[in-house]
Subunit: 246 residues, 8 copies
Amino acid sequence: MYRNGEVSEDEAAGALEGLRIEVLDGMARIDAGRSVRCGMPEVVLAEGKEPEAFAEIMLAQVKAAGRCVATRLSPEHLDALRARLPPDVRMEHREAARAVILSTGDEPVPPRGGTVAILTAGTSDIPVAEEARLIAEEMGCEVRTAYDVGVAGIHRLFSALKDLIPADVFIVAAGREGTLPAIVAGLVDRPVIGVPVSTGYGYMGGGEAALASMLQSCSVLAVVNIDAGFTAGAFAAQVAHGGRRE
Amino acid sequence: MYRNGEVSEDEAAGALEGLRIEVLDGMARIDAGRSVRCGMPEVVLAEGKEPEAFAEIMLAQVKAAGRCVATRLSPEHLDALRARLPPDVRMEHREAARAVILSTGDEPVPPRGGTVAILTAGTSDIPVAEEARLIAEEMGCEVRTAYDVGVAGIHRLFSALKDLIPADVFIVAAGREGTLPAIVAGLVDRPVIGVPVSTGYGYMGGGEAALASMLQSCSVLAVVNIDAGFTAGAFAAQVAHGGRRE
Amino acid sequence: MYRNGEVSEDEAAGALEGLRIEVLDGMARIDAGRSVRCGMPEVVLAEGKEPEAFAEIMLAQVKAAGRCVATRLSPEHLDALRARLPPDVRMEHREAARAVILSTGDEPVPPRGGTVAILTAGTSDIPVAEEARLIAEEMGCEVRTAYDVGVAGIHRLFSALKDLIPADVFIVAAGREGTLPAIVAGLVDRPVIGVPVSTGYGYMGGGEAALASMLQSCSVLAVVNIDAGFTAGAFAAQVAHGGRRE
Amino acid sequence: MYRNGEVSEDEAAGALEGLRIEVLDGMARIDAGRSVRCGMPEVVLAEGKEPEAFAEIMLAQVKAAGRCVATRLSPEHLDALRARLPPDVRMEHREAARAVILSTGDEPVPPRGGTVAILTAGTSDIPVAEEARLIAEEMGCEVRTAYDVGVAGIHRLFSALKDLIPADVFIVAAGREGTLPAIVAGLVDRPVIGVPVSTGYGYMGGGEAALASMLQSCSVLAVVNIDAGFTAGAFAAQVAHGGRRE
Amino acid sequence: MYRNGEVSEDEAAGALEGLRIEVLDGMARIDAGRSVRCGMPEVVLAEGKEPEAFAEIMLAQVKAAGRCVATRLSPEHLDALRARLPPDVRMEHREAARAVILSTGDEPVPPRGGTVAILTAGTSDIPVAEEARLIAEEMGCEVRTAYDVGVAGIHRLFSALKDLIPADVFIVAAGREGTLPAIVAGLVDRPVIGVPVSTGYGYMGGGEAALASMLQSCSVLAVVNIDAGFTAGAFAAQVAHGGRRE
Amino acid sequence: MYRNGEVSEDEAAGALEGLRIEVLDGMARIDAGRSVRCGMPEVVLAEGKEPEAFAEIMLAQVKAAGRCVATRLSPEHLDALRARLPPDVRMEHREAARAVILSTGDEPVPPRGGTVAILTAGTSDIPVAEEARLIAEEMGCEVRTAYDVGVAGIHRLFSALKDLIPADVFIVAAGREGTLPAIVAGLVDRPVIGVPVSTGYGYMGGGEAALASMLQSCSVLAVVNIDAGFTAGAFAAQVAHGGRRE
Amino acid sequence: MYRNGEVSEDEAAGALEGLRIEVLDGMARIDAGRSVRCGMPEVVLAEGKEPEAFAEIMLAQVKAAGRCVATRLSPEHLDALRARLPPDVRMEHREAARAVILSTGDEPVPPRGGTVAILTAGTSDIPVAEEARLIAEEMGCEVRTAYDVGVAGIHRLFSALKDLIPADVFIVAAGREGTLPAIVAGLVDRPVIGVPVSTGYGYMGGGEAALASMLQSCSVLAVVNIDAGFTAGAFAAQVAHGGRRE
Amino acid sequence: MYRNGEVSEDEAAGALEGLRIEVLDGMARIDAGRSVRCGMPEVVLAEGKEPEAFAEIMLAQVKAAGRCVATRLSPEHLDALRARLPPDVRMEHREAARAVILSTGDEPVPPRGGTVAILTAGTSDIPVAEEARLIAEEMGCEVRTAYDVGVAGIHRLFSALKDLIPADVFIVAAGREGTLPAIVAGLVDRPVIGVPVSTGYGYMGGGEAALASMLQSCSVLAVVNIDAGFTAGAFAAQVAHGGRRE
């Protein structure tokens, strides 16, 4: 660039500054359209945030967007939110999903079409599944669930699958060895998303064995991070919207 | 089970044997329908198989199913296959995908609808992307690609995305830090599948950093195993079929 | 499958649905016989379950099966269980095994034959060993134990082995470097199952060093997961039943 | 020990020396009986040994014990052995198991009773399975096998299980996600030994995912090291001998 | 050394002792100049220290050096410090940085020139960023910050960068997938230091994914340890001093 | 977003498409200025690229940019490049750095000011250091080196440091325990960049121990990936340019 | 062994039993001399033991051996011990070492000769160092210490070394990057034992980086487990006894 | 430092430069005495060095020091050395240790007293043991060895120990589970150094299981890096010299 020597260093530096500012101005205008582009609800991860700071972020979001979801709440997060809740903001607590929904209006989420099926191997996997359900519903999908169908016996899996088969996409949450997603993927012809859950113990018991098993599976599976109910729900909703976009 | 003492051990053992056989008989009839259910092509992973054994498996498969794909071939696998190829089996070598397709007839794969977009960050990610493309095409999807759009400059990404946006689903293959899938997921509202590629070096350079980065992403992404072009292609095809099933 | 073009997509989709439902119906009938087939007691892992949910699961199980075991109980689990215990359910608390047994009748577990020997290297390994013992006893085996024979001096090991040698199978629980199982396997001609215990500290001190050492052993050993007393006990009982099946 | 001060340091040192020698003399007499105690064949791991040194070890072993097995041979090991083979030593090459058996006599291994069933998920797992078979046969067991029953379709598994069910113990070798052992363990009431095989790729593809999955399994499984056909075969033979000892 | 045999062992040993003492004397004089050489403030890591011991170390340091900083304080550390604070020592508590500054005089830190820009991807990364800011300010730099510019939308990043671009060096703190530093490094021509933050969850969620991603980045980045605000701040100050040394 | 129901789905979808295209158009114009902004030379990583494809990429780059560098070349890469080299492209082979420089003109890289000092602990670290040197020189810096000053004795380090001290920034490459960067950082008051090198053996011997040691260092160090000579050189050049920008 | 068929199975089994018992009898007599042979004090690791069980083990040990040490005590362990302490047992609490010594008599440990030097890099490493000191003193060695000589400045190291140089062996405890042991090993000609301490944070901050760094060191070092003050002290005492055995 | 404002920046900078130079001058004089201080032979690690560069380093070393050792030689290293060997340099090739010794004179290494015992578990551990032996002999110690005493039967261990017991220190090399060092440490009262060897396979089979097992051992052991024969030999020689220093 400076190689031809025709531009002095000062000139080059000045030009660079100019270019950079212009670039940044251009780009700043772009991102405003992001939430429209990607169709995601506003979701705040409570875990790791100070309760007060968390509550303020939530209230700012609901003012701006009319509706806002928080996941992985501790009781302290919930208390901080309750203490600050203005009268015109509605709060819905989804205990099983460790989540809350704030909204300024009464309208439900408008349906966008598409059905998401969610299964869990055991009862310990249910909070992660419920987080996925909440997100998929917030994105306008119908959700059907069948929980504890891995541990309680494979006959429950099959009777459950009969009800779920019309779904557009399957989320399967499983801890320990994490094989239920692969079994489901071998029985249905729709996309199956595996969610490893941190419910094992001992060697790679924090969900790593389940993650590894799903990644190595001979079945066709896509996976998300350990305990990542939010990502699974949002990805599944994107898939489920598929046939309804046109 | 033996607890009530009403059944002698011998009786119980006999009953068990009977039950088990009956169960197995029932189950054996079930699996025959599997390939119909899941809509996958027959795919053989050449890597790790003796060339001769590999060639025999392939020929048996093509006889049984009319069409058969092999991935991750070494030159030795290819030679063994060529040496044994009967005159009535057609062999198509896809070098960029390190794959071959055997078939007994001339009909192309019938289109099942749906479009899959495949992007790569760099040129080293192309073989994995080509493996994904081959599988998606074998499953009846249209595939559009844009390779080397991460390293060569983000402007190539954007001009590429304009062409690809009508796609039903995106596959994004990336090595090293593996951030391209998250960037794409922030710009499109369709499902994005990240494929970590083993093209880095140093710390976690065998694709592990890319895998971890994709799993941790704040964007909505699902991932497959490192270098798992086959899984990405088949999963994407399942997603792309979505709107065309009814 | 769709390749020959002779079946329209609609026909194929309809056939698929039919096949799938039929398959599932067939399979659902199968699993009912599972607990009979495998001869396992009903065991609930308390760890990671909400105390109330845990108590409800236990009571449902004991109603259905007449007898039910829970392992890895916290005091909260125990309290929740006690608070809900109906008068017709007997509860036996095995403190050393961190376990309880619920039963609706008074009959003891009927003996199925076979003797399991259980050894531990140190005193910290005893809870895991006691969990194994409980399961083996629930499966109708006689159990003999020799605890703390690794740390307290090898002479205790040898005098213990003299008492234990008639056993059909040996379980050896050990933490830190986990070498006791290999030593026992070098002295007896019966199967030896190593159980790594999470009682070390520092580098790989959570049982990983013991697991690795047992897996690498030149002695003939099979291993179970770190702290997996349940699996060791159930596997050993299966081995011990061996000679008594006919 | 030196604490009471009644023994001078010199006296103590002298006593120690004496005690130690006496101890060692006593112990040396003990180990001679080891191979009798544990009932193992003499097995040499060729891998990692210089071909010449390997051949010499083998010939020394067969002279001393009449029969000797070597596993994991390279062609170089085989050549070195052939070049040195005396006329009175018989060599049997088991190619599928990457093994040889040397013997000085013609008698076959005397049967000790017991049947071992060996299954593999795919064709790549066969060498490990064959190593296990060889060892179990060398220990006097009958062996029945069913290979490639995981990948080629679950119906093959069930028809295979019907033939194998009378076995005393099952060895199941599987790579990638390694779930076949758990499936088998859910269907039979005999002990099942999982052998993780290094046939995957990508994240934990060297058998680690299979190992983790087997250790985390909700089914009752014991496992051996990755690719450890020898250990699986010997352990299974010990189990199979069980009912025939009395 | 002893090889020529001309020096007796005793002589050699004596000479060695002498040499060693002399060497040590020489070296002891050297280190006194260290803090002058490296231009670092005195910083004490509170984490892992007993509160009382910590307080004593701090007071000794401030007496000796006139000014002293402590990072990663718990409330207990703070209490212990407050309880022992002599009237002539001023204590400034920087809550956001989990830090305190003790000083014996009133003079502010003299400016040494240079500007450090600090960005964070999310709000959870702010404590680490504030620790970096404190250190850079203690080293005489001007600091400008832009927090939460990754999660809240890329348009905030660009408007922030316009304000920060005159800075001499950039610190970018990010958790989860840790990609913000690479994005910044692609937009500015000044050195960018990535700080991985332990704010993720699941697989490599303790900052390891962010660390790996930054190390593998195709952008030009240098990194410091996970959560290492101190190191980032001090390194950045060294860079920022650069143009002002002459 | 669709929540107020005032926009029909079709309208929303249409608007989205429009927005997206517009956004992409805007962004595409931006990136063209990237290489100007960041002041990096064009560098191609040969490792992992097919020799022919590599050569074509290089020639395309040199045509476009006038000058182009490739690192980590194998002899095959070099041969492929030589075979395709047009007469008007000059090729300079830097063997010690495993690199080549292609250029279309004769002008040397114009100096941009700033001095980079590069040290290595041992001789095995030199190729990585030479890669760093090449990049820093390509970016217009003066480079001074002192190699093998860690292993050969600390007196060589000190005499080397005396020559290097006027440098603006230090790169220190070290394998095994990787402590030389921390020692240098304790002796100079300029920024020190540690480069872990994969020259150890045994436990974490592929550079991981050196990386961990540098990240944990109490000295103020920033690090780059294992063997990442390119990144170290480019980052150091950015630092060195610092004082010369105004 | 059973191969020649000359011994019936029954005979063989009987002989085996006999041999085994005899072996065990012989071995049981051997171990009684172990503590005499190895010269170790009786040491109980409190960590991971129930306070009551711990107290009972301690009291049994002190009765049997006259003197007994416990390390890694929590306040609960201490309380349990105090509550059960009989009047004729003396208890000495070494707070800095997190240890207690129980004894039934008044005699101090008789000196066995030898001097152990113990250094720490920082103040956080002192508890581990104190544990090592306690053990070495219990084994009759003189111990000299120099703490906090790494962080507080290398001049403190050198003045400390002058006092410590007559020692027979050096223990050096260090956390984070763990380089002090290598520095000491480069300055003294006596054996140096590195003890990694779990006082870092971030990547491999639990002592793993220090362990790796010590194992990779170019200096001649032997290491013990992370935080293993006991092992370091006992090993050092064995070395220090060296010259006094004759 | 600059805090009191009494020194201008220029003055301070000048003073710093002066101080630094003076410091470095002082330090440079110190290191010349290093090899005398530490009593190590000059040892060059051939692995990872270019054969030609390696040969030149060796010849420079032998000229300077009269004697020089190289370990881990490939045939290429050996050839390069032979091709350049001047007539006045003697070369001794120790094949079992993969080492050579160059010397300019005929005198053997003068004995410094002390005996080192070296044991190996198997035959694959011998090269590492021989490397240790070579170094200990070069440092003037007598060495006694007992190889293959772990795998071939524990009776060989005990008869071997009887011969080795007068040794001052024991080196025990073992791969796979690495338990032989702990067994030896339980039988002798002299220091035992464990050397993990990379001779296993499967999970942590590259020596990591052996390393972990030795670090976790309840016996008193110090360890060195995987395959680190050099370090073990040099450390053992330092211990063995102990009683002969006075």
